[in-house]
């Protein structure tokens, strides 16, 4: 006999674990991400809606959630158990869109607060009115829980009529799964026409996986085939390893069939008796409670590593994306440095200007051409790097995140930024040249702009511009020329590094904004191991 004894340490460990789970994010669209997100939400819902409140207050009433496929007669079953129409039943599918919770009036305080299912807005409807009328505008109709009270429900038990688990409305499906996860007792309803459907069997398998306290109801069985269908269903359950699950059969009766009426009390009597027994016999109650609670606790052992694995995969993918960016920019950086050294800037327009320099071209024009050519070189490097990043990212499913796909670093702005940087370099170089010329005590001081143009040519022209160096030395002396070239060269490297760095950071910014870290993985596992220790 398992019993539920809860120590405060366990609760602390559990709420720490809950926070870790809540903090886990899976923003990159990897193959396993949607599943991990769903698992996370489900686990969080189960912790918030069921496990934590249950362990905090073991005396709270048992919650039996009636779940099943559309048209299985869940609402009719709940109505019949209660003895009056609390949940609307009907022929149109899906019928139940708002979950309905029924409990004894004295238990009402347990459910009117946000103790369980804190995400759902409570609605109090006196009788037979549709909940939709009472909703505030803008309130999501599916995120509402109707709380009903009835004297006929035994104390310490609450029945919850959940929406369809296979509803056409996707929100309903999610809600149904969430509600079922919040149950102490899972009441699975299926019908004679449905007992072989795939969907209810998934749910049964899940119940088995979590080792929840489970009851199955075979509803709507035409009375002439009751024994045969029931026998086959039992065989299927046994085959699935669920042979020991309490099984109840409710016949299809004409007065109840599709009109939403109530089944006679005798039809649901065995189920009712069982529920009353579980509620009122302390041992049975304790057993039912502990089984579901420990089932969920045990399931954490498998579910937490799964989440941690998904978090690790997220981080690995983010790392791959980052390293693709870094590799692309690094290799382009190397290439652009090589090009600078070989004098690639002194080509085309700049080269023509340089050839015409002293006679047919002014120093200003030469400088303009050089600066423009340098800007073109840097822009080319940046766009080439971006292209390589795009290429690499195209092969990464994680790069399809909408935040990353957005082509924010537009070419124009990159061009603009590079142009600014290069112009600033020119200005500073001209200042250096002026300093150098001013320091010169010669009768005829050389034109500072010509000096700046010569330095720029010598720096950017590589081997080809050897004569520029010579010209410079002639104008301001070998010593001064060397110093100016050194300073200018350092300035150039500095600006080049800054440009490449800025552009790389800009490219990485959206990825950084996604905030994918390696910590969640370790934290999830750590929280789990703390919990294991406290049990």
């Amino acid at each position: 006999m398992v019993t539920l004894d809860v120590r405060p340490q366990l609760l602390d460990a559990l709420s720490a674990l809950r926070d870790r789970v809540a903090a886990a994010r899976f923003p990159l669209p990897l193959a396993g991400a949607p599943r991990a997100r769903a698992n996370r939400d489900e686990l969080l819902a189960q912790l918030d809606d069921y496990l934590v409140p249950r362990l905090r207050e073991p005396d709270a009433p048992l919650l039996a959630v009636v779940g099943g496929s559309t048209g299985a007669g869940k609402s009719t079953l709940v109505n019949s158990l209660v003895g009056r129409r609390v949940s609307e039943a009907g022929v149109l599918r899906p019928t139940t869109r708002t979950p309905v919770l029924v409990c004894h009036p004295e238990d009402h305080h347990w459910f009117s607060g946000m103790r369980v299912l804190p995400d759902l807005t409570r609605v109090w409807v006196p009788h037979q009115e549709t909940a939709e009328d009472l909703l505030l505008p803008g309130e999501d109709p599916t995120r509402v829980l109707r709380v009903e009270t009835a004297d006929t429900v035994p104390r310490g038990l609450a029945l919850l009529d959940a929406p369809d688990i296979d509803s056409l409305v996707a929100d309903n499906r999610v809600l149904a799964a969430e509600l079922i996860c919040a149950a102490d007792i899972w009441v699975m309803v299926t019908t004679a026409a449905r007992y072989a459907d795939a969907v209810p069997w998934h749910l049964l398998r899940t119940a088995k996986e979590y080792d929840a306290t489970l009851v199955t109801v075979l509803d709507r069985v035409p009375h002439q085939v009751v024994s045969e269908v029931s026998r086959q269903y039992g065989a299927l359950l046994t085959k699935a390893g669920l042979g020991d699950v309490p099984r109840f059969t409710v016949p299809e009766l004409p007065e109840s069939a599709w009109g939403g009426g109530l089944l006679p009390a005798t039809a649901v009597a065995p189920l009712r008796t069982w529920l009353v027994h579980v509620t009122q016999d302390p041992a049975a109650r304790q057993h039912a409670l502990a089984r579901t609670a420990y089932g969920v606790l045990n399931s954490l052992k498998a579910r937490m590593p799964e989440l941690a694995g998904a978090a690790a995969a997220q981080y690995a993918a983010a790392m791959r994306l980052t390293s693709a960016v870094e590799a692309a920019y690094d290799s382009e950086h190397t290439r652009v440095r090589g090009r600078l050294q070989s004098g690639a800037v002194l080509a085309g327009d700049a080269l023509k200007r340089w050839r015409a320099f002293p006679l047919d071209c002014s120093a200003g024009e030469l400088l303009d051409a050089l600066v423009e050519s340098l800007a073109a070189l840097l822009l080319c490097a940046v766009t080439a790097a971006d292209e390589r990043v795009d290429d690499a990212w195209r092969r990464e499913p994680a790069a399809r995140a909408p935040e990353l796909a957005d082509p924010d670093p537009s070419l124009e702005s990159a061009e603009h930024r590079i142009g600014m940087a290069v112009r600033r370099w020119r200005r500073e170089l001209e200042e250096y040249a002026e300093d150098e010329v001013r320091a010169l005590d010669r009768s005829v001081a050389p034109d500072p702009e010509a000096v700046a143009a010569l330095v720029a040519t010598a720096l950017l022209g590589g081997r080809r511009a050897r004569s520029a160096g010579e010209g410079l030395a002639e104008r301001i002396g070998a010593h001064g020329a060397l110093r100016l070239r050194d300073r200018g060269g350092r300035l150039l490297t500095e600006h080049l590094d800054r440009v490449m760095h800025t552009e790389r950071e800009r490219r990485l910014a959206p990825l950084d904004a996604l905030d994918v870290h390696p910590e969640p993985q370790a934290e999830l596992i750590a929280a789990l191991s703390v919990l294991q220790k406290e049990r």
Binding site: T70, V199, R355, E470, G471
Partner: protein
């Protein structure tokens, strides 16, 4: 016939008077087809599905039926089998997320159905007891005219085939798989009987598919029961002979082929119907769903059987009805078991079902519009079965279901291919982009700077030539002290990398971006690749070109007035000298003192020299500008020509290929077909 065929009648007015409409139609079809196929026939030849089929048709007419039919059956059996395995694999892979658990679970409940508790197989003996005739092989030997497609569908299929052929090198085979499958199915169906319509009955477990099947056949052919799921393998029932090939194609073994109750009225009404009872699609038995998925791709029409309990099941709507919304015209949706509903609840449920179908995007065939037929019936009591039989009879008698199904398949394939063909906006290389590319290349070779340099050099030379000798002397003197920088003889050697690599690279990248913007990804990639491939070697070519297309060697051309100006300048100098000498002669007393003339001569020379120089400079501006512009233009044109040949043309060719494919796609999607 369809509206499009009617249109054909008016187009080919010479055929309008023909008395046999069917013949006429075929004639028209051939005409349209030969027109549309003309360019294709040499290369495509026998591949065309109806090409072979027409011959086939001829052979059938020449009563060589036995051989043909056996070939046909053999062939189709083969297709059926290969399709079967393919589909099975496909379905296994693409199970819905909710089902992944089932397939991943080692203790798959699907296997657990193999026990004796749930009878999966229809026992042969039991089936035989039901007095249904098992169709004999002799029937299948009878020939049936193969299916004909109308000209619109034919041209769309031609376009689809061409589209697949054109894009095979650009797109991966997975993208084209669906289109290929549709083509195969269209060809396979085309070979088979056009007199028959294959209709499948599909639905959830326990909805009463088999009951309806039996009700239509008039005999209990397919086993019905309470055990779920009941029917494990598809059962076929053919109302008339000659449909063996069709059933063979579905992969239904002969032991599961049946004949309906022989009954005159029944026979004539549903003549040409081949009804297939499918297993369920929603039970835990996975192989049932695989059967359903496979056969649903092969049949001409589907009757979806739903019941009041399950009509809103997510699996039915999300997995089947929504993806098949385009097939509404070949779809019946029947609400079975209405006898279980009290009073007007049946109408309510039927209305709700209509609403759900509408939400699924399925057009409903109400008020004479084309679309799905929605009926309520009870197979148990026979209520409404007559209506279905009537609707089915009319549907089968029209014999248009196979073509409609194929047409809907082509639609679906076109929609599926949309992302890889359709574009968001107008694409292509604008004149602007081309100009910009040329300008960037010109920048890379330095055309502007070269032109300016040439202009200035020319002007300088002109100034020097026409300037006063004194000025020249002074300049020469000054030049001696100027440090030599730019014009060192070292740089006169041909440069190996005169073209700015980075500018060429950037120009090509910008062009590729412009050209590929808005294109679907595979085509954008192809355009980019074409541009990059073309740009290889482009800088070297530009280097060489710049060296060749530079200024012509030798002296730059000089205007005609130049010698005159030089002469005038010289004479001015001469005047100065003469005046000076004269004055000198007077000063030393060699000559008679006459101050006026020599001073005048000298003043004329002194004033005239700079005057001539200035006017020459003014006059030289025009030729200098022309000379510079000429130099610039030569480089610019050479660079642009080189870029056009190496990059622009391949890119344009790639864009043209895309446009062709796009046009084909338009034809497939049916836009081009109506526009033509």
């Amino acid at each position: 016939m369809t509206a499009v065929t009617d249109q054909d009648h008016t187009e080919h007015a010479d055929h309008a008077g023909d008395t046999v409409p069917k013949h006429d139609d075929r004639e028209n079809g051939r005409k349209g087809e030969s027109a549309s196929e003309k360019g294709l026939q040499e290369e495509n030849g026998d591949d065309s599905p109806w090409e072979g089929a027409r011959e086939h048709h001829a052979r059938v007419e020449s009563s060589d039926s036995g051989r043909t039919d056996s070939w046909q059956t053999g062939k189709s059996r083969h297709t059926g089998e290969s399709r079967h395995t393919g589909e099975a694999r496909d379905t296994g892979k693409s199970t819905a997320p909710g089902d992944s658990q089932a397939s991943a679970d080692p203790a798959d409940p699907a296997d657990s159905w193999d026990d004796g508790l749930i009878a999966r197989r229809v026992t042969e003996g039991a089936a035989a007891e039901h007095a249904a005739l098992v169709e004999s092989r002799a029937h299948s030997a009878q020939s049936a005219a193969p299916l004909t497609y109308d000209s619109t569908l034919r041209s769309r299929l031609v376009a689809l085939r061409e589209l697949v052929g054109l894009s095979r090198t650009r797109l991966d085979s997975r993208t084209l798989a669906e289109a290929g499958r549709v083509l195969d199915e269209a060809a396979a169906r085309h070979r088979l009987s056009g007199q028959h319509t294959v209709v499948a009955i599909a639905g959830a477990t326990g909805s009463g598919k088999s009951q309806l099947f039996n009700a239509l056949a008039g005999v209990p052919i397919s086993e019905t029961g309470l055990r779920r799921p009941t029917t494990a393998a598809p059962v076929a029932c053919s109302w008339s002979d000659g449909g063996a090939g069709l059933i063979e194609r579905l992969g239904i073994p002969p032991r599961l082929r049946r004949r309906p109750l022989q009954n005159g009225d029944n026979d004539t009404q549903l003549c040409g119907l081949v009804l297939v009872d499918l297993p369920d699609h929603d039970s835990a038995a996975v192989q049932h769903r695989q059967h359903v998925d496979r056969i649903l791709t092969l049949v001409d029409a589907v009757i979806w059987v739903v019941d009041p309990e399950k009509y809103a099941d997510a699996v039915l709507h999300e997995r089947y009805l929504r993806p098949m919304a385009g097939h509404a015209e070949v779809m019946f949706v029947v609400l079975n078991q209405v006898d279980r509903l009290p009073g007007e609840a049946a109408d309510q449920v039927l209305d709700d079902l209509r609403r759900l179908l509408d939400e699924d995007g399925i057009a409903l065939g109400e008020y004479g519009e084309p679309g799905a037929t929605v009926l309520a019936l009870s197979a148990l009591t026979g209520d409404g079965v007559g209506e279905l039989r009537e609707a089915l009879g009319q549907f089968v008698a029209e014999r248009r279901a196979p073509a409609r199904r194929i047409s809907a398949d082509v639609d679906a394939a076109a929609v599926g291919l949309r992302p890889v063909y359709a574009i968001r906006r107008r694409t292509g290389l604008s004149e602007e982009a081309r100009d910009e590319f040329a300008a960037r290349l010109a920048d890379a070779v330095g055309a502007t700077a070269a032109g300016e340099a040439a202009e200035r050099a020319w002007l300088r030379n002109a100034n020097r030539a026409c300037g006063t000798p004194w000025l020249r002397l002074w300049r020469w003197y000054q030049d001696r002290f100027e440090p030599q920088t730019g014009r060192l003889p070292v740089r006169a050697q041909p440069d190996e990398k005169a073209t700015a690599r980075q500018r060429v690279e950037q120009a090509v990248r910008t062009l590729a971006d412009r050209a590929s913007s808005g294109l679907p990804a595979p085509w954008a990639l192809a355009v980019r690749e074409a541009a990059v491939r073309g740009s290889q070697g482009l800088p070297e070519a530009l280097d060489e070109l710049a060296a060749r297309a530079g200024l012509p060697p030798g002296r730059p051309p000089r205007p005609g007035w130049w010698p005159a100006a030089v002469l005038v300048q010289a004479s001015m100098t001469l005047l100065q000298i003469v005046g000076g000498l004269w004055l000198l002669g007077q000063i030393i007393g060699f000559m008679a003192p006459n101050l006026g003339v020599p001073v005048l001569l000298m003043v004329t020379g002194i004033v005239g020299g700079p005057l001539v120089e200035w006017s020459c400079r003014m006059a030289a501006r025009g030729p200098a500008r022309r000379y510079g512009a000429d130099a610039e233009r030569r480089l610019r044109e050479a660079a642009a020509g080189c870029g056009r040949a190496r990059v622009l043309d391949p890119v344009a060719a790639e864009l043209l290929r895309y446009r062709e494919v796009r046009e084909q796609y338009g034809r497939v999607a049916g836009v081009g077909a109506t526009a033509r």
